[in-house]
Symmetry: C2
Subunit: 330 residues, 2 copies
Amino acid sequence: MAQGVIRLLAKLCAAASAVGKKEAEGPLGSCFDLHDDSDKFKQKTWEAAESEMQRQVLGLAIKRARLAPQDVDMLFAGDLLNQCVASAYGLLEYHIPYCGIYGACSTVGEGILLASVAVTGGSAKWASVVTSSHYCAAERQYRTPLEYGAQRSPTAQWTVTGAGAFLVGAVSNKGVNVTRGIFGIPRDSGVRDTANMGAAMAGAAADTLMRFFRETGESPNAYDRIVTGDLGYEGGSLLCDLMRAEGIDIMERYADCGQMIYDRVRQDVHSGGSGCGCSAVTLAGYFLPRLREGSEKRILFMPTGALMSPDSIKQGRTIPAVAHLVELEA
Amino acid sequence: MAQGVIRLLAKLCAAASAVGKKEAEGPLGSCFDLHDDSDKFKQKTWEAAESEMQRQVLGLAIKRARLAPQDVDMLFAGDLLNQCVASAYGLLEYHIPYCGIYGACSTVGEGILLASVAVTGGSAKWASVVTSSHYCAAERQYRTPLEYGAQRSPTAQWTVTGAGAFLVGAVSNKGVNVTRGIFGIPRDSGVRDTANMGAAMAGAAADTLMRFFRETGESPNAYDRIVTGDLGYEGGSLLCDLMRAEGIDIMERYADCGQMIYDRVRQDVHSGGSGCGCSAVTLAGYFLPRLREGSEKRILFMPTGALMSPDSIKQGRTIPAVAHLVELEA
C-alpha cells in the first residue's frame, strides 16, 4: 500500500542520554546517563555545549554496543539550531558517514525510522541516530535571549537541554525490536501561536496514529504505552480529544515525553518539555530500559515536530507539523 | 565493508527544474523547465517564492512519472533556510510522508542516496527528492540584505535561485540507473572564510571520491564525467590538485555545477554558483537528459555542502563540509 506502514527488521541495540540541570532534577533525573549542572558541558557557548552533549552520548552509545566508530556505517543526526550545527560540529571526530536530518522535535523518530530502513534493506549493518536541543541556545534563537527575562505563556513549552544517541543494528543482535513504522505527513492546523506548539502538532499526531491503526487494524489495547514526543499538556489533551472523535480512546495508555520530563508544579514549565532532545532522552533513558527489562512489552513511540521558523512566523505563516511513528517490541 | 560503497537498485525516473532570471540567462538556461524573471514566482516574499518553486517542480516531476502524489511513499526535501522552511511550506499540499534533510549544498545528493536506499530495500516503491535555494532569501539570511549592496569577494559564490525534483523508483521502470553510492564523512579543513566555501568543501569532496575509488577499484576513465555539486572555480581547482596529490588525475573528466550554471565573464558571479538548488537543477535539467539520450553513459555526481551557520562563524568556528557521491548509468 502506497504511503503505508513500513515493516522493519532492526533492533535498537544501545542508547545513551545527557541532560542539563533542570532535567536531572526532574522526575526522570535518575534515568539519564550524563548531566552537567552548569548546562555548559565545559564549553564556552550554549551551542558548543549542545554539540558536546551529542559528542558524549554518541561515544557512550557506541561503547555500549561494543563497537568502534569505524564500525558504524551511517549517522543520522539533527537538532534545532539554524543549519543543524549542533550535530555538524558535535559529531565530527567520529568520522562516520553523515546524513543531516531535520524534523524539529520529531527528528529522533525520523532518524530511528531512516536508520531502521537502511538496516532492514541491507544498506547499513549499523546505523546511529543522535538528536539534541539546548534550552539556552533555543531561547535566544527562537524567542529572546535569557537575559531579557521574557514572561512565558501558560501554553508554552520548555526546550529540553539534552541529547540522545541510539545504535540500530540487525535483528541478530540483542536489543529492542523496531518492528514497524510510518513516516508522518505534514499537516497544517492553522495555528499561528508559537507559544502553543502543542496545538499546532496535535493534528499531525492524530493523523499519523489514525493512519497506523487503520492500516494495521491494531487498537490501543495492543500496546502498553502510546508515547508522543512532546505535545505537552495542551497538545496531549488535544490529541486524546481528536482520537476520541475518531472513535479511538488512547487516554489510558497515553504518555507524553514533554509531560514526563519535568515536574509540572515544582519546576514551573507551564505546558511541559519540548525540543529534539526531549523525546530522545526519554526514549533512551526511560522507555528503552523498561522494554529491555520487560516491564513494558510493546509501545508506539511517536515524536512530533513543528516545522516553522521564527522568520516564517514573522511573515504571517501558520505552523505545519509532522509526527513519525515507530513500533517497539521487547 | 563498514562505511563503504552502497550497492543500489533504483532508477531516477523523472525530474523537473525551476530557476530564476539569472539562471535562465546562463549557459544552461534552455535546459530548465520553468523560470520566472521576477524571481518571485507570484509570491510576496523570497522565502515563499522558494517554496513555490519546490511546489511547482515536485508537481511536474510527479506528472512526468505518470504518478499521482498519493502514489509516492516518501519525500526527502531540504533547503538552506533556517529550519528548512522552503520545503516544509512548499510541499504541504501533496500530503506525502515527509523526511526533512539537511546537508547544505550537498542536500540533493543525500536525498537521492536516501531515496535509493529506501527503494533498494523495499521500504518505498516510489520516493521523491526536492531541494532548493533562492539567492535573495539566502543573501539576507547568511550575509546582508540585498539593499545593502555589499561588495563580494573574488572567491565568493552566487547562491542559485532554483529548485529540482526527482522521482526515484524500482529498476523495472524506465530511467537512469542509480547503481552505487557513498555517504560523505564530514571533514573540517580549518577554513573560516565564508566567502570561500569552495576551499572549505574541496577536502570533503576529495575524501569521498578517494574512498569511492579505493574501494571500487574504479578510475576516472571509467566515467564520462565526474561532477561536483558546487565547488566553484576556487574549490574545483583545489579538488583537482588534491586528487592529483593522491595520484589520480580527474581534470579531463571534471565538471562542476557551480562552474557550469553561470557565464563567468558575462554574469559577474566571481567563483561560480552554489546553493541546494545549484546541483539539483543542473542534474535535473542538464545531466539526466544527457544520460537518458545516451550522450553520456556513466557519471559520478557528487554534491558538496558546507555545514556551518552564520552564528557558528561568529563564534569563531571553522567550516566543516561533506560530499555525498552517487553513481549514475544510462
